[in-house]
């Protein structure tokens, strides 16, 4: 195993409890949480909307192609798009994309503050910067990313509808019948478990990369890249583990 990984894992584990120390001023943290919720939530709506439409549309087209002239009833298309979106594509795809958008932003924001001595300035004032800079982001992500994933699941179904009904492959009633068939509420639980886990991963990894950045603009760029790459890899590993644990 790469010793660098163990070093960073140990450093991360040591650093992490500092994030959850008592805030110096609850109101300041609250304001920061609201600001982050807006940035993460509203700021990511458009990209989530676009990818979700295509997730649903491509899933519908692909399965329509797979089903072909088989004996599987046509209404299954709605059922397949719905479950694919809820169980896998909405949480995983959305969070992979958010790791790129939100994660890199967090790493760059905190890393930039480190380089401009803003973090040192706050430390001198007596602010617990690990807590003030990371905790609001973490709370905001844990609230907003599941909301974005829910929206993504909803819009994916709409994307599937557009690709299959609006293009004339299937009828409205067939698609809707599929959407209403074989619904398993546990799948929604699984979606939220994934969304929350992925939100935690992408936020904490990105903040860690930004907080401990050293050097200049090149290193900051590298830290942003690492934030995305490591978040994506860990999200995929977590996806596998969650699927294994919650479906077996």
């Amino acid at each position: 195993m790469n010793p660098g990984f163990l070093y960073h894992f140990g450093k991360f584990v040591q650093w992490f409890p500092q994030i959850f120390s008592k805030p110096e001023n609850g109101r300041m943290y609250y304001k920061e949480v609201v600001r982050q919720m807006y940035d993460i939530g509203v700021g990511s709506l458009m990209i989530v909307f676009v990818i979700s439409i295509f997730i649903g549309a491509v899933t519908a087209i692909q399965f329509a192609y797979q089903l072909g002239n088989s004996f599987i009833p046509p209404y299954y298309i709605g059922y397949i798009v719905r479950d694919m979106a809820i169980i896998e594509l909405a949480p995983t795809f959305t969070c992979l994309v958010l790791a790129g958008k939100v994660g890199s932003n967090m790493a760059a924001e905190i890393g930039g503050m480190r380089q401009k001595e803003h973090i040192d300035a706050m430390e001198i004032m007596g602010v617990n910067t690990s807590s003030y800079l990371v905790m609001p982001k973490l709370i905001a992500a844990l609230i907003m990313i599941p909301v974005l994933v829910s929206i993504s699941a909803l819009i994916s179904n709409f994307g599937g509808y557009l690709a299959s009904v609006a293009t004339g492959y299937y009828s409205h009633s067939e698609y809707v019948q599929g959407l209403r068939s074989f619904f398993v509420p546990w799948n929604v639980v699984m979606m939220y478990v994934k969304a929350i886990s992925f939100a935690f991963i992408l936020t904490s990894v990105s903040c860690y990369q930004g907080y401990f950045v050293k050097g200049g603009s090149i290193e900051l760029g590298e830290a942003s890249t690492r934030a995305v790459v490591y978040s994506d890899i860990l999200i995929l590993i977590a996806d596998y583990i969650i699927a294994l644990v919650l479906t077996v």
């Binding site: 300041m28 401009k116 040192d120 300035a121 430390e123 001198i124 004032m125 007596g126 602010v127 617990n128």
Partner: protein, 254 residues
């Protein structure tokens, strides 16, 4: 009063500080001077607790910074203000929000009281009326003053300034020096300035510590600088032929 006791600092095999001892008195403007790479910034970071020494102690009166818990350090820092070399003003906040930040974070005062305090601090640094401007909209000298205003907003007992004159024209630099000196006297605080600006040394250096290759090469007041026989200090202060001629003339006329 701040006392450094036998401070050593090494980064691997690189021994940056090699046993530094000094005492900085309350109500005085204390300067740490030295060539680039002499260890000034590392020493300043150790003094404010942003870095731990490899050996030695830093005393704030009777409290040893190096032995404090994180909570105790944060408590002490309520008494510390610092002006950074690059100002470290938060770009996305206005001047008022920058100065108000410590008040927002650590006090429960009403907004009106906080704004009054901000205005008072801005007046102290002769910058009244720029509350709503962003740091990018004001000059480097003004940014320095805003940095000073933010550093003093919580009425600190200790003020640290890292290269307060860097990047400023000589006239503005002198104004910043005078401002820091006035604030030190007015509020009776212990001020520590990290600089290699000769004007600062000669104008406001009540106590000067010269670092050379990680060691304390000389200490004294600005009055003693002119007549020094210390070779390291002479080489540092009177590095240019122009200053050497000035000194010769000054000593000659004395």
């Amino acid at each position: 009063m701040i006392r450094a006791e036998n401070i050593f600092k090494s980064f691997g095999d690189n021994h940056v500080l090699k046993g530094i001892d000094f005492t900085f008195e309350t109500g005085k403007t204390n300067l740490i001077i030295g060539k680039s790479g002499a260890g000034k910034t590392v020493l300043l970071k150790i003094l404010v607790g942003l870095m731990n020494p490899s050996e030695g102690h830093v005393w704030y009166h009777d409290r040893d910074l190096t032995q404090m818990s994180k909570e105790e350090t944060r408590e002490l820092r309520m008494d510390v203000g610092m002006l950074f070399q690059g100002n470290a003003l938060f770009d996305s906040m206005t001047v008022e929000e920058n100065i108000r930040f410590p008040l927002d974070m650590f006090t429960n005062r009403k907004l009106k009281e906080k704004v009054e305090r901000v205005n008072y601090c801005l007046e102290e640094v002769s910058l009244g009326g720029i509350n709503k401007k962003f740091p990018s909209e004001i000059s480097g000298g003004m940014q320095k003053r805003v940095g000073i205003a933010r550093a003093i907003v919580l009425e600190p007992k200790y003020l640290f300034c890292d290269e307060p004159n860097s990047g400023l024209d000589p006239k503005t630099a002198i104004k910043i020096d005078e401002l820091i000196s006035e604030i030190t006297k007015q509020h009776n605080i212990t001020t520590v300035i990290n600089t290699h600006d000769m004007n600062s040394v000669m104008e406001i250096g009540e106590k000067i510590c010269l670092l050379d290759a990680g060691k304390l090469a000389w200490e004294g007041g600005k009055e003693e600088v002119m007549n020094t026989t210390n070779k390291t200090l002479e080489d540092f202060i009177f590095a240019s032929p122009f200053l050497q001629r000035l000194r010769a003339r000054a000593l000659g006329s004395d």
